[in-house]
């Protein structure tokens, strides 16, 4: 009964907070705006659009042919002047295949190729939401004295902090899953009406579902890290300050320094790179200052591939260090 009543109270406390309600509502409004924007900027492609695109490509080709003819005449009158070559046969002669109708096709939402980026956007927005809510939920408790009041009722500190974290992650998971499902349904609708679902085989759907699962895990990690940092510092501002510090010092400062020092693959210090590796299953980094020669492809840059298990390992390590430290200090430090 004890833990259940504490969990019930914590769920009430979390959902009663106006800051949380407004933040969630604002985030959902942003999501709706994104979906509406993508919907409005795409349209379904049919024979009419294909014909228009082909006609536009043909017009461009004809314009280019006329321009090339004009340039040839100018060149023959005064070879080697006005930036024209001395040998006028060297002038570029447009070819029909140089003018692809694809360039004139209207934007259309192709679920198979486009939904991944949309899902990453969802994950990024919800990681930010989770981080701020997680930090604020426990940070406000510490700074307002609510945590001390609660501990006078429930002296088992780890149980109290653990229940708070559990309730927060449970709520974040529930919200993320519901929104992910709605987000997917919304884009299935957008693809049906303003794009295409072509290529969405059973395997593709399974892959999409797994990407969504990874998105939810990333959101939960962000939420837990915000919670852990604010609990360590006993104030919301500590978590936000650490986040700002990491962005400024690690993401920009360190990256710039490494870049200036020509350190290969300096991007590995950018957390978003690891988030993308996690979401997209892998990311290939290239070192353009190196040359791996091959007779077929010539000079190719060195590459470093970050895979999702590597990214997962990093995120789990960060989670364990921060949340572990928060639990440890909760148990050890005096509450003054």
């Amino acid at each position: 009964m004890g833990t259940v009543s504490l969990a019930t109270a914590e769920l009430r406390r979390l959902t009663k907070r106006r800051f949380v309600r407004w933040l969630v509502a604002g985030t959902l409004a942003v999501m709706v705006a994104i979906a509406a924007g993508i919907s409005l900027s795409n349209e379904k492609v049919g024979p009419e659009q294909v014909a228009q695109a082909k006609a536009a490509a043909e017009r461009e080709y004809q314009d280019a042919v006329r321009q090339a003819e004009q340039d040839r005449l100018t060149c023959e009158r005064a070879p080697g002047t006005n930036g024209l070559p001395a040998d006028c046969t060297q002038l570029y002669q447009p070819q029909p295949q140089d003018f692809s109708p694809d360039w004139h096709m209207p934007s259309t939402f192709t679920f198979k190729s486009d939904f991944g980026a949309v899902l990453t956007t969802f994950a990024a927005i919800f990681v930010l939401l989770g981080f701020v809510v997680g930090a604020s939920y426990v940070g406000a408790e510490w700074s307002s004295g609510g945590m001390m009041n609660l501990l006078l009722w429930r002296p088992r500190r780890l149980q109290v902090l653990g229940t708070k974290l559990g309730i927060l992650l449970g709520a974040a998971a529930a919200l993320s899953v519901v929104v992910a499902v709605l987000w997917t349904l919304a884009f299935i609708g957008i693809a049906s009406t303003r794009g295409t679902l072509d290529g969405m085989t059973a395997g593709a759907w399974r892959s999409t579902a797994l990407t969504e699962l990874r998105a939810v895990v990333l959101i939960l990690l962000g939420t837990a890290i915000g919670f852990g940092l604010a609990s360590l510092g006993r104030h919301t501002a500590v978590a936000l300050g650490v986040a700002a510090g990491v962005v400024v010092v690690l993401q920009f400062g360190l990256f710039l320094v490494l870049n200036m020092a020509s350190v290969p693959f300096g991007e590995i210090f950018l957390l978003p790179i690891w988030a993308v590796a996690w979401m997209n299953k892998e990311i290939k980094l290239e070192n353009y200052q190196s040359c791996a020669y091959s007779a077929v492809n010539g000079c190719q840059p060195d590459t470093l591939t970050l895979t999702w298990p590597m990214a997962g390992g990093l995120w789990v390590a960060i989670f364990v260090v921060i949340v572990g430290a928060a639990l440890w200090t909760m148990q050890r430090r005096d509450i003054t």
């Binding site: 907070r17 307002s144 609660l150 006078l152 429930r154 002296p155």
Partner: protein
Amino acid sequence: MTAVLEIEGLQKTYRSRKGVRRALDGFDMVVESGQVHGFLGPNGSGKTTTLRTLLGLIKPNGGRMTILGREVPEHLPAVAGQVGAIVESPQFFLPFTAWDTLSLLADAGGVPRPRVPEVLELVGLRDRAKDRVKTFSLGMKQRLAVASALLKNPKLLILDEPANGLDPGGIREMRSLMRTLSEAGMTVVVSSHILGEIQLICDSVTIISAGRRVAAGSVASVLSHNRSAGVRVRVEPGVDLVAVAEVLRSAGAPQVTAADDHLMVGGVDRPAWITWVLAQHEVWVSELAPVAVDLESVFLELTGTAPVDGVNRQVDESAAATGGAGGWGQ
């Protein structure tokens, strides 16, 4: 009577870059069941550290504590449901209403919701239950804090400065509430700087200074052991008070202190003796008034915190216990 709260040799040391500070230095305290017990001490003497340690918020470096016969902090979870407490200034999440604040605590502690309106009524916040705490005055927040402590209908109620911010009517209500709770069988430990209040409502007191107990026992015993009643003596204007004081000392008065315009004479059984002695030296007494000893003067004497002209006392400058960690009474 059985002891509801016992503390023996409690120690707490804070270490920082500035050095080591002993907040509690072998502190002892006993509170008997059903009493209203005053816990007194100057600022920085260790009162709040003691209460926080007792309630499991601070880890002690040594000593032994029991609440309701159970060792704490080991068995604190078992007795926490029977201990209501407010520690220092009331702190709440300001955007929540009084009702939200208490109902969340009730939910967390497994207390039935109907208890919430009961305690709001008890502390006079019934009509402000749906107002946000951020609209409350300090006194109203104090009332809410007391309500939160009463929510679980505790056997032991610990109130740290409950009169802070209360208006005179509120202080009287708080006094009456504590007395009522005590009569109903609740043991109340109250820390306060309003010593007149403590003297009025408390059955017993513990006085702490520099982390040690300097006095404990019933109010009457602490008063009688620590400072005898005196007699205020005024003489006709123009008479040298220092010389008069010397006359009384020569005649055998055990304690004579000279103030600006009067003398305080202590340890004299019959005030008329003073008149007789001075008349023999042709000094005529204009006022001879017995002065009853009060808790404030005992407190100032025991803790060494009485104001001295031209001296700005610092918070850590208070008297430590002399003669070991023991105290008076019990």
